[in-house]
Amino acid sequence: MASRTAKWMRLTAAAAVFGVVGAGCGPAGQAGSQAADAAGKVYVSPGTYDEFYFFTSGGYSGNLGVYGLPSGRLLQQVPVFSQYPEKGYGYSEQTRALLNTSYGFMPWDDAHHPKLSQTDGIPDGRWLFINGNNTPRVARIDLSTFETVEIIEVPNTGGNHASPFLTQGTEYVVAATRFSVPTPQADVSIKEFATRFGAMLTFIRVDPTTGRMAVAFQVKMPGYQYDIAHAGKGPSHGWAFFTTYNTEQAYSLLERGASQNDKDYIAAVNWQRAEQCVTEGRGQRTPARYAHNSINDQHIAETRWQTEVTVLDPATCADLVYFLPTPKSPHGVDVDPTGEYIVAGGKLATALPVHSFAKMQAAIQNQAFEKTVDGIPVIRYEEVMKCEVQNPGLGPLHTEFDATGHAYTSVFISSEIIKWNLERCEVVDRIPAYYSIGHLSVPGGDSRQPWGKYAIALNKITKDRYLPTGPELTHSAQLYDITGDKMKLLLDFPTVGEPHYAQALPASLIRDKQVQTFSLADNKDPYAVKSERETRVVRQGTKVHVYMSSIRSHFMPDNIEGIQVGDSVFFHVTNLEQDWDVPHGFAIMGMRNAEILVMPGQTRTVAWVPDRVGVYPFYCTDFCSALHQEMSGWARVSPRGSSVPLSWNKPGE
């Protein structure tokens, strides 16, 4: 009897596996045994860990998604550029300043490219950088807390898309203009695009110990669109490569106007040469107001306003920039693990061009230039090109690499991944993506030491892949096994926001250094309380500061009287817990703000301006313990000018 039940269970389980993996069996649906094989490869049994962390940009959500691979399980969303009420991010007094910009408080952005910090060209698991596209910014996330700790605004830039690609030792993260703008900004006619619009390539220095960013210099470029970047490595270390399109300088209906030239360029920037020119004083210090926001040693975000940048003009710093002609409106630019090959995703081209760094250097030596644009020499195409990969499909975009000399290129229009041999420039395998793949990601796939194993497609269209959810459908990732000669599709999984680029790294690099609690003893927040005895309520004019503690399962104080209508009440909540996975939340009725989630040992402040008389409940929003429902209190609000004295309950009463 028992064995029959077990057999039934096995059959049901098998059916479920086929059901899940084979869902929406279209032209490329998998046969049963293949599906079971794939399911086995992505099954991470309950209570065990994934092998890789997978970081996806949230696109228009402004967040960073964190998944486990190979299971595709969503682990966390890290808020970066967008207010995130769930965590009180951008609402609490300690985090609001992270979202300051020269345009004021900015509650949203479009985050495209997560990049893991590197040591010697290999991801090291210290930080993750990500760009804000709309209001140009670069953020840094600490991978021991999964918190955004720094955001720097990028001046003189329109659409920071080619960012934050970084150099092999994390010396610099780069930023660039996707939409050329008058530089500096000015009230000019759009028709003056060719003469008045410009672009900047920005190099942001990263402090090797603290990770702190600072704009080092900007390189002034012709007014094209700068799309994607990658820094050189190994022999090409010291260079950074940026794709350009719209070298036509169209300013309306770009889809046609920017697609006329057979070739646009890759801009090769010698940043070590730039450092020389800056040292020689050839940079021009230019006024620019931009925000530099970071978490200080009190765990409070603060803004430092910057007032100038150093701008380098290639016309006055020879050998700084070269243009490599590249067909046609190239998108991605990717440097292989050896640092020798530079692959461009010529998104409108019929062949996939591969440049050679060695050839580029020889061409520079021999001055094999076809012309000069704004002081920038254009190298002759055949003098820099190693090969054109034939039959790459329609719309190649991005390329990542494995450790065995293969490249994997996402192809948008024909919706597929091609695998090709780097030396021979030959396509050796291709597999469909469902549908319209943008970026793709291989663990370590843009580093000097790819871990390989998987390729992950980040798809724009999902149509029939999942249960439909009205007009807006989920975006998705697809996991492919790349260990064999033939790529194999293993798993579809939905993603939050719209992932553009994504990076993965072995979990072992960061799993064991996760912060479990913040040390209460080291809490330097000026409004922190170290014990319930320090809790109190202080009035300063119309400001009321509540020094509140939370610990399982009560707030102290939890009765507050003497608040008046129109007061600004600051609840400074310190979580006294020193136990892992015991956050406490705080919310009060009628607060036109968000909740706050307070991690153990941390202090978070949220402001409440009561606009009416009454008694208002507050409570813990994080189900913290068996007596979580009891973790609540009341605040009494009296009329303005009331004689009700400020009072609150104290421990032991």
């Binding site: 610990i551 399982r552 020193q578 892992w580 068996a626």
Partner: protein, 197 residues
């Protein structure tokens, strides 16, 4: 007089007890669904510590639900008395080894045995007190339930499995005590048999 071997063994055994100043005597480990990684505390000759940095605070935090008094090392006078008693025991042992008379060994063994029994009894008394003297206003009250940790071994207490075992220092103490008793028996026998001609 004790044999030369016994005198050396007594002296070394007494010195070995010095390790109790550096190693915990006892370990109480707690395991619950909410604490798969475990939580627990060590009892030392002069302090009580968590097995992880904040475990003692967290154990006290959990105990407040059942109205147990917080475990406050400063409020336990034995933790000030025990280091002195241990010092005395080491001194008696060393004195006995130097003195060489069997009576010294008997005194050491007797003091050691009495001390160990008193310590265990005291440990039991504290455990009983923590487990039974509960705040009547506690959130969780289960009629007839007490929360006394076991002296030795494992016991289910609500969602926790509490396991109480000697730690390194405790094992050393028992080892040296066993040695003292064995030496005492040996010397006792030797003392009663006629001296060799």
């Amino acid at each position: 007089m004790m044999t030369r071997t016994t005198r050396w063994a007594v002296g070394l055994g007494a010195l070995l007890l010095g390790a109790l100043y550096l190693l915990p005597l006892w370990h109480i480990a707690l395991k619950a669904p909410q604490y798969p990684e475990g939580i627990g505390m060590y009892i030392w000759v002069d302090q009580i510590t968590g097995q992880k940095p904040h475990d003692l605070q967290n154990i006290n935090g959990l105990n407040h639900y059942i109205g147990m008094k917080p475990i406050d090392p400063d409020a336990i006078p034995e933790l000030r008395f025990m280091p002195v008693a241990l010092g005395a025991l080491i001194a008696i042992g060393l004195g006995a080894a130097l003195w060489g008379r069997r009576r010294g060994l008997y005194l050491w063994t007797a003091a050691f045995t009495a001390g160990a029994l008193a310590g265990l009894a005291d440990f039991y008394r504290w455990g009983y007190d923590y487990g039974h003297s509960l705040d009547p206003t506690a959130a969780i009250k289960i009629p007839g339930m007490s929360y006394q940790p076991p002296l030795l071994g494992s016991k289910q207490i609500l969602n926790f499995i509490a396991t109480s075992l000697p730690a390194a220092g405790g094992w050393i103490a028992f080892l040296v005590l066993a040695l003292a008793i064995a030496l005492t028996m040996r010397e006792w026998r030797l003392g009663r048999s006629p001296a060799p001609a």
